[in-house]
Symmetry: C2
Subunit: 419 residues, 2 copies
């Protein structure tokens, strides 16, 4: 276990939205602290913004209906946000046949500050600016060395600087999605497979110090989750899960409108849940982890066993194509792969009942056929119960999803008005 000293984060370079929402976060986060009248303002501002995100462009009256308050209240909350060019009024929408004054929809201003999104892999880093409606710009990418953490950090900051140039406004913050294990409390890297030089590196604190911006950081599946929550299929949903397949396996959960994070950001380590007691050995040292039967390495091994062509480069896309061409054994292997993936999803459904799953990673490449097969296996495994209709969906393309996810981390932190 890597020893990680705790450091005070700087708070320089704060943005408008920051200042507005800060108060609401600090004390309201803890269940034991009482609410004060002044917190209410910050909390409600956050909720109105979240409602706007979930509904899309909406009039004051619409927001009032949705949030259960009077139109006057919404006006008071919205006005300063308009004054600060965070929101703008769109062109009035003609009323329905019933008549009435045209509604003036509110939405995030083009002038609003963007978010700097970073995706950190074991051998490369990618970054971009993400606007509040999910548009990417200023994409940048770099290969990472393996020698030492300082050198790696230099490359990362260079990459970020290139992206920052794409925006003439200072960003709201920097969101980092890391493919590896993270300590979300300390915003530090615990362990990245294949890149041991980064283990224990306080990336969050260093980025904060370098750019003077608030940093939000989490591991890859959780970033995909918040990306889908703000910009994708999960928009407006209070409960869903993200499952990422491919070389590894990961998951993340949104429960009752909140991103689930265990202590120090633990939880969601689905890849190493046991699905086969005394099963195949896993690289983690145990036997029968879900990873041993639902990743690409399993698929490649099986493809080799049944003599499919180029088994070492097998993946969902190729296997689906082979099955479509009626290659002997391909359809059967595809179904077994679907079943193996379904096992972990079913276990998660039994445990936490999110009811809605968004797939990311390799399995997405298998298309609707694979997705439907997985869904069918899940439904077969999970006994039906009231309110338990299970749906599977497919996430955005990996590249976009990851960066939007990193941006979503910042949004979640900013709007984390809880309750």
């Amino acid at each position: 276990m890597v020893d990680i000293p705790q450091v005070e984060p700087s708070s320089a370079g704060r943005s408008h939205l920051d200042d507005i929402l800060e108060e609401g976060q600090r004390s309201v986060r803890s269940t034991r602290n009482l609410l004060s009248s002044s917190n209410v303002g910050a909390v409600n501002r956050g909720r109105v913004l979240q409602a706007l995100f979930d509904l899309g462009p909406t009039s004051r009256a619409g927001l009032a209906r949705y949030t259960g308050v009077t139109r006057a209240t919404i006006s008071v909350i919205i006005q300063p946000l308009i004054d600060q060019a965070i929101l703008t009024e769109g062109t009035p929408i003609p009323p329905t046949e019933a008549g009435g004054k045209p509604a003036r929809p509110l939405w995030f201003s083009n002038e609003a500050q963007p978010i700097c999104a970073v995706q950190l892999l074991h051998d490369s880093v990618r970054s971009a600016m993400v606007s509040l409606d999910g548009t990417l710009s200023g994409k940048s990418e770099a290969t990472l060395p393996t020698d030492n953490a300082e050198h790696i950090f230099q490359i990362i900051t260079k990459c970020i600087r290139r992206s920052l140039k794409a925006s003439h406004r200072p960003p709201l913050g920097i969101g980092v999605a890391v493919v590896g294990m993270i300590d979300t409390d300390r915003k530090a890297i615990v362990a990245v497979n294949l890149a041991p030089a980064m283990n224990g590196f306080q990336l969050g604190q260093r980025l904060d110090a370098t750019f003077g911006l608030p940093v939000s950081m989490d591991h890859h599946p959780r970033a995909l989750l918040v990306g889908d929550r703000w910009f994708g299929q999960g928009r407006g949903r209070p409960n869903f899960a993200v499952i990422q397949t491919g070389e590894g396996l990961g998951g993340a959960l949104l429960l009752n409108g909140e991103v689930f994070r265990g202590p120090a950001g633990a939880g969601g380590e689905l890849g190493h849940t046991l699905v086969q007691v005394d099963g195949r050995p896993c690289y983690c040292g145990l036997r029968g982890c879900w990873e041993t039967i639902a990743t690409l390495s399993w698929l490649r091994e099986q493809a080799g066993l049944i003599g499919l062509p180029e088994p070492h480069e097998m993946n969902s896309r190729r296997l689906t194509a082979l099955a479509a061409k009626a290659t002997p054994g391909a359809a059967d292997l595809l179904d077994r792969y679907a079943r193996n993936i379904a096992v972990g999803i079913a276990n998660l459904q039994q445990t936490m009942a999110p009811n809605f799953f968004i797939l990311h990673g390799d399995a997405v490449e298998g298309g609707k056929g694979l997705t439907d097969a997985i869904a069918a296996h899940v439904r077969r495994i999970v006994p039906l119960r009231p309110g338990g209709h299970i749906e599977l969906a497919v996430g955005d393309h990996q590249d976009v999803a990851a960066l939007r996810g990193a941006a979503g981390l910042v949004l979640s932190d900013l709007l984390q008005f809880v309750l």
Copy 2:
């Protein structure tokens, strides 16, 4: 699947605490509704009461420090609760060496209303009155017929009436712990094993109509969870899990201070998570459910296979005794049993990282030896990570725990001021 029509619950016979806290629950529950100053009062009242629960008897000043507000605020919140005889002041506590005015500790009044707790099993019903400090009185029990739901309901109400006589004050509500599958939205029974007559019965609505009291209802593991949260080992903890073993397997989770309930109360169906793909057939129709390797029926079968005496009556207590007497095979079987139980706990830890587990049911009878063995297996299976120290504890005796749990359901509903 049983079809369950929805019915409006009556709201007759409301109590003081009810009225006080009602407002805070209704609109604050949903994250999309905004807060109002008047909500703040209800929410804070709930939080102060929760703080008092978690801390034990505490002065106004102590509560103020804990909750981060001024003493004046606590006084304002507390005063009406004292006036209504929900709280009382205890004898003053002498100050420390530093001097100062003696603190007057606050605690729940003996005059405070109790809670009616009911435990419903497939063949019997038990009830009691539970005071706010967890004391049980007026215990009552009855065997249930199997013929039809109305008859069963009559017996249940008779049992409850006997318990109600033990209290001269009207209770805050009726809490029901059901050994079976529950729809918590509709407070209806979905399915009780071995008692199909009750399937689909709207128990909550009927009890409400009969007694004019608010009814809180949930399945057994979740009742144990809230029981431990209010009256047991989980007191004051924001995250922990309850695992119940024995004839069946169940679990429940407290996450970030809130009882986890999926849609319609789903979730925590740990017994039928897969831990052995293509494993032993389970009565649910699938193969390799956790239940197939970690319940008493597995233990009895294995005991028979290795020739232990009276295998059909084997349980943790007897097996532990046999192992202590160095009976051949007993210690080995006990360890395998511990390992099998640990598998499900480890999977839950990997998925949700509650870090603290309270065992209930048969495994408790195995004493510290079995508990330690389970803990050791869990720690072996789960890779260590920051903030991930795993602890196991043993719950109260089954009878007390279940009824306190049922009472805890009412408390949770009343104080459900969410974050």
